[in-house]
């Protein structure tokens, strides 16, 4: 039987090769058989506690094998999983939980205090034996352990959502992107073929579970029956340790992100001809600076490098570019390439639009936003396209290149940031009369520097006060790095905030207004 649902990929490996390692985390190995059985137990507990097809189940846990078991158990129960970022402020998590109305929030270990702040909105399942003080749990790991490991029947269809991922929204409310089993399966099928993934591969994923990129390293590995080497949290902190870990794990395929490739290159943790078994390095999420790519390609001449491109709304990635040879000049632009199988890249008045098999059904319970971003296909009645907001052009050889953004969204540390979300949060602060946020290019670890110009109420607020208040509303990666008090914001002839002028002020007065 050809698997149609994501959980079927694991069940198939558990049947064929139950002893083969599915997950490797430090010294721990979890076989396909054990992974499947543990997820079946959790699915049974969830169903017994009232979980039904189409329910949402949030989970709060770092990317460790336990989280993979939970993710699979939720799918097996017929529900959608919603991964939450533990480092997000509680207020933002509450907005997400409010929006998706989950049947349960699953949590354990370091998530105790965050889970306690969400328990008035949703029932909590505590996946350890002992519930911490202050938390009420619908059930615990002890209850799960008593369940049978036989498969649960579920009538999920390939067109049903498997997960909802929340990304920055310009109005201040995070948007939930629903992604179906069929969406992920289509990319996994292409990835297996294009990257030649097989059961002899050792693959790694670096991205946290609330990034959609992680769905490829996880389900791509399961589809191939490969070993998924999960980067231990502490290893990811130090570039030299990470390089050592890649050597020791003998990775064959590495799905990375530009910030990590950049980090390792900047501290020069890479040897020449390092990682001899690594055949492929791919990245997605943001632009990898060409000098960093040259650094990597010179040190790993045996590996192939692939740039993947695509927003969450079109699932993992929609286009690819296999870099044919090490770029000769650090100013060379690396294209986003051509459409993956089943995908379509169109340029409509320079804006990159995507059609095809990866297209999400839309934003969770937000038909207005869905209608604004997902349009009827211009040439194919009945089909849709997604407007990315990215601007591009087609090179003479047919490859597409990115040239900028149509709006004020930026990318930092792989996160999409709508500057409007920061402005919306600022507008709720009582100390401010008005404010505007712009981003200027930076040459540090992050590609952009977020800058805020503000007009205070009568009592002059300090940047430290504003940062402290804002930190309760938005995650750290969105926090402005520079603050500039003004008498009034500069405006253009139409009375709108003059953003080009603000960018110019921040770019030229680098030192004067650094907070």
């Amino acid at each position: 039987m050809t698997p149609r649902l994501l959980q079927d990929l694991v069940a198939r490996q558990a049947e064929r090769r139950p002893e083969a390692a599915a997950l490797v985390y430090g010294a721990k190995r979890l076989s396909y058989g054990a992974l499947d059985a543990a997820a079946n137990r959790l699915a049974r507990s969830l169903v017994a506690a009232g979980c039904r097809k189409g329910d949402r189940v949030c989970f709060l846990y770092p990317k460790k094998p336990a989280a993979m078991v939970w993710m699979l158990g939720i799918l097996k129960a017929g529900a959608m999983h919603v991964p939450l970022d533990l480092a997000s402020p509680a207020e933002r998590l509450r907005r997400i939980v409010n929006s998706c109305e989950p049947r349960f929030v699953l949590a354990a270990g370091p998530a105790a205090s965050v889970a306690a702040q969400l328990q008035d909105l949703s029932k909590v399942v505590w996946l350890e034996d002992t519930v911490p003080a202050g938390l009420r749990a619908a059930f615990t790991l002890k209850d799960v352990a008593r369940e049978s490991s036989d498969p649960v029947s579920c009538d999920t269809k390939a067109e049903d959502p498997a997960h909802i991922l929340f990304t920055s929204g310009s109005t201040g409310i995070p948007k939930g992107v629903a992604i179906t089993h069929a969406n992920v399966m289509a990319f996994v099928d292409w990835g297996l073929k294009h990257f030649g993934l097989s059961e002899t591969d050792r693959v790694s994923g670096h991205t946290p579970l609330h990034f959609d990129l992680s769905t490829y390293d996880i389900f791509g590995a399961y589809a191939a029956g490969a070993e998924l080497h999960v980067v231990p949290l502490e290893t990811a902190l130090l570039p030299h340790r990470l390089a050592e870990w890649i050597r020791a794990s003998r990775l064959t395929q590495w799905f990375s992100v530009p910030s990590v490739l950049n980090y390792i290159a900047k501290v020069d943790a890479l040897r020449f001809d390092d990682f001899p078994e690594l055949r492929r390095v791919m990245w997605c999420g943001e632009v990898l600076p060409t000098p960093v790519l040259i650094h990597w390609m010179k040190r790993l001449p045996h590996a192939r490098f692939t740039n993947l491109y695509g927003p969450t709304e079109t699932t993992i990635a929609s286009s690819y570019y296999d870099v044919p040879a090490c770029p000769e000049s650090p100013t060379e632009v690396i294209p986003i390439g051509a459409a993956c199988d089943g995908e379509e890249i169109l340029l409509l008045e320079k804006e990159i639009c995507i059609g095809g098999v990866g297209l999400s059904p839309g934003y969770w319970r937000d038909p207005a936003k869905t209608a604004a971003a997902f349009l009827p296909h211009p040439h194919r009645p009945g089909s849709r396209i997604y407007r990315t907001g990215d601007l591009g052009r087609v090179r003479p050889d047919g490859m597409v290149e990115l040239i900028g953004r149509a709006d004020t969204q930026i990318k930092s540390r792989g996160y999409r940031i709508e500057l409007g979300e920061i402005e919306a949060a600022l507008s709720s602060l009582a100390r401010l009369r008005e404010s505007a946020v712009v981003a200027i290019p930076s040459d540090g670890f992050e590609q952009w520097q977020i800058c805020c110009a503000y007009v205070g109420m009568d009592c002059e607020p300090t940047p430290a006060q504003l940062r402290a208040e804002l930190a309760r509303l938005i995650p750290g990666y969105m926090m402005p790095a520079r603050w500039m008090p003004c008498e009034a914001l500069p405006r253009n002839a139409n009375g709108k905030v003059d953003r080009p002028k603000l960018k110019q002020i921040f770019s030229t007065e680098k030192l004067a207004c650094a907070a």
Binding site: P62, A87, L233, L237, L238, S259, Y263, A471, P475, G476
Partner: protein, 80 residues
């Protein structure tokens, strides 16, 4: 030591916008400290406390909690 713990705690809050629940919270296991935040933290420790800690010389256990970071800095300052 207590003073340094408070200083590190406020570095997290004011410079990194991370509200660490307690001085013993496991920063790594909770996902509060990732690689980029670590780089930022080291830069702030250098600029605010005048203590330079090269990445290559760090032992992971020194980064476990606000308390252990404070201990690391106090030890380095005592040697300087």
């Amino acid at each position: 030591m207590r003073g340094m713990t408070t200083e590190i705690h406020s570095l997290f809050a004011e410079k990194l916008n991370i509200d660490v629940p307690s001085a013993d919270t496991d920063l790594i296991d909770s996902g509060l400290l990732d690689s980029l935040r670590l780089v930022e933290l080291l830069l702030h420790i250098e600029s605010s406390l005048g203590c330079r800690i090269p990445l290559e010389e760090i032992d992971l256990d020194d980064l476990r909690s606000v308390k252990s970071i404070a201990r690391l800095i106090a030890a380095r300052q005592a040697l300087a």
